[in-house]
């Protein structure tokens, strides 16, 4: 096991900057998600860490050892590919044995290690099957067993759950997390699925256009996004744009919004505020007031989407559509077209420098 340090890594393909001065410290034993839209450079970064491709500049080290010019086969990493990449000409057991076999391990050791790895992913009895006889979830497990049986220093996962259907994906998320905890391996996970990133990882790195936008624990990124992009890419957010006032912003129509989270900005600068939809309270009048909910806006419900455990209200206000998510508590529901008052606290409001 080992941590991974990526320092100032850049990589261009022709004129396209796939990675632009990216630095991330992946601590030993952690579970990281690299999150970003397609083309953000997350897969390029994973391939640099794996050793399929070398950076133009910058350093990569695994367990303190510089590896940026070491080819993949010498890096002692384990990788799970998007489409599993199981060897079709080999049985499940031979697939898992491959990494040990090319290292010249003796047969008895290989057999017992393979069995252990297959047991770990709960496929102990399927060793003799061929990959094409397995379901998607089973292939995923074989790919994982194959990647970890060689005791790699780091486990790299390239959108490993993308090809599975929703229910199976949730099962595999839990399973993957269990296995990762059990063997304690540093894991780096590329995904474009924000929910997956939130539920599985200890830390998340958000990439955009080859740059690292923000990095930290999921709670921190969700609660204190440092950019509009981070706020809207990881979860939903209502974004207000205006001028910084010292303790919040003033919208173009003069409404003040107080913010107690995020950057401290000097008055006058362009700034945004981000508010999560579930932090906003919605009511039909201003009477039920709460001193803490200092921010208030009036609007009109344009649409309601009922999702069982909650409802999402779309509220029109000064040409902007705001989203409010309300838990289903059995209280009266608001009708479309109704005038409403939105309230939320400055503690739920994140101030973001424009940019």
């Amino acid at each position: 096991m080992a941590g991974v340090q990526v320092s100032n890594v850049s990589r261009s393909f022709g004129a396209h900057k796939a990675l632009d001065d990216v630095s991330i410290d992946f601590a030993d034993g952690g579970f990281y998600a690299l999150l970003g839209p397609s083309g953000s450079g997350k897969t390029t970064l994973l391939r640099q860490i794996a050793g399929f491709d070398f950076p133009d500049s910058g350093r990569i080290s695994i367990g303190g050892e510089s590896v940026e010019r070491v080819p993949v086969e010498k890096r002692r990493i384990g990788m799970v590919f998007q489409n599993y990449a199981l060897f079709p000409n080999m049985s499940v057991a031979d697939n898992v044995a491959f990494g040990l076999s090319v290292r010249g391990e003796n047969k008895a050791v290989i057999a017992s290690e393979v069995q252990r790895a297959l047991d770990l992913v709960q496929l102990g009895k399927l060793g003799r099957r061929r990959p094409h006889q397995l379901s998607g979830g089973q292939r995923q497990r074989v790919a994982l067993a194959r990647a970890i049986v060689t005791k790699p220093r780091v486990l790299l996962l390239d959108e490993p759950l993308g090809a599975l259907d929703k229910a199976l994906r949730v099962d595999m998320q839990i399973e993957l997390k269990r296995i990762q905890r059990e063997i304690g391996i540093t894991t780096i996970f590329v995904t474009h699925d924000q929910e997956e990133a939130l539920t599985m990882s200890d830390r998340i790195g958000i990439l955009r256009d080859g740059r690292l936008v923000q990095e930290g624990p999921p709670e921190e990124i969700y609660d204190r996004p440092k950019s509009e992009f981070a706020a809207t890419f990881l979860g939903n957010a209502n974004i207000f744009r205006g001028d910084a006032t010292g303790n919040g912003i003033r919208l173009p129509d003069g409404t003040a919004i107080a913010a107690k989270v995020g950057d401290r900005l000097a008055g006058g600068a362009k700034a945004s505020c981000a508010v999560r939809p579930e932090r906003i309270r919605i009511a039909t009048d201003a009477v039920v007031s709460d001193a803490a909910d200092a921010n208030m806006l009036k609007g009109k419900v344009s649409k309601r989407i009922f999702a069982g455990n909650n409802s999402t209200y779309f509220v029109e206000r000064a040409g902007q559509t705001l989203k409010v998510i309300v838990q289903n508590t059995g209280a009266d529901r608001l009708a479309e077209g109704q005038d409403v008052v939105l309230r939320w606290s400055p503690e739920s409001t994140v101030l973001i420098a424009a940019g």
Binding site: A50, F52, P71, V72, E73, K74, R76, I77, G78, M79, F81, Q82, N83, A85, L86, F87, P88, N89, F98, G99, V102, R103, R146, A147, T150, L156
Partner: protein, 262 residues
């Protein structure tokens, strides 16, 4: 209902006609190789005399061995070089790759008569001259593009992540090729090898140009024998060749399904 049946009948008739056209001459020749009369006279009387006398025709036997040896060596050379070339074309980008790939096809389309003439002139020019070695070189040059085309077609169905997965597990280039890539393209390699064998073994034109009177291949020897005077031995040897060639082609069909299922 009625029309379908008529169309079906016509279809069957057409296929029957086609097969008869293709196979009847061959079947007649094969039958005549077992007929006592050397002049195709009926009634048919069974004999294996012509096959027996084939055994004593030293020239024909020597030519057969030459043909087999050349075909086998051609196959081995073409399979090794052709598979390696296909892998290189698949894996690497290099200057002139497109041109090289384009240049692989015309030799298949150029008439063998022209290729044969060109080779004869060239081999004389560079001092190789005629003979079995020249024939071997000629056959390799003729068969190599077939192997590359067939193996490359198979490689198009190969998922490149498989090589990456193998490398991530610590396999070096040689191990990746031998244990992951080669097993996948094996049907193509076998089919390419059978093609190469067939191209060489059935080759007449180029061999005829490059052969010397004493040292020749089976098709050239047969041609020479027919010019001297026809004997049913030729029927016998032709039957043997047809059986071998058809067996090879059936094997090819079995192994090679242009990028279809495994």
């Amino acid at each position: 209902m009625m029309t379908t049946r008529i169309l079906e009948g016509l279809g069957r008739f057409y296929i029957g006609l086609l097969l008869a056209f293709l196979y009847l001459p061959i079947i007649i020749m094969a039958l005549m190789s077992f007929n006592v009369s050397p002049f195709y006279q009926l009634p048919f009387e069974w004999t294996t005399e012509w096959y027996a006398s084939l055994w004593h025709n030293d020239q024909l036997i020597a030519a057969t061995w030459n043909s087999l040896e050349i075909a086998i060596v051609t196959t081995i050379i073409c399979v090794v070089l052709g598979s390696a070339a296909s892998l290189a074309l698949y894996r690497y980008e290099f200057r002139g790759k497109k041109l090289l790939q384009a240049l692989l096809f015309p030799p298949i389309a150029i008439p063998w008569l022209i290729t044969g003439t060109a080779m004869l002139i060239f081999f004389f020019g560079v001092g190789i001259g005629r003979g079995l070695f020249a024939i071997l070189l000629g056959h390799v040059a003729l068969a190599l593009p077939y192997v590359i085309v067939v193996v490359s077609a198979r490689l198009q169905t190969f998922a490149p992540e498989l090589e990456e997965a193998a490398r991530s597990l610590g396999a070096n280039q040689w191990q990746v090729t031998m244990r992951v890539t080669l097993p996948w393209i094996m049907p193509g390699v076998i089919a390419g090898g059978l093609f190469a064998f067939a191209v060489s073994f059935d080759q007449f034109v180029v061999s005829y140009f490059l052969a010397t009177p004493g040292q020749t291949t089976l098709p050239v020897e047969i041609y020479a024998a027919i010019r001297k005077g026809f004997t049913p031995e030729i029927n016998a040897v032709s039957t043997i060749i047809i059986v071998v060639s058809m067996a090879l082609m059936l094997l090819t069909a079995r192994f090679f399904k242009f990028g279809g299922e495994k």
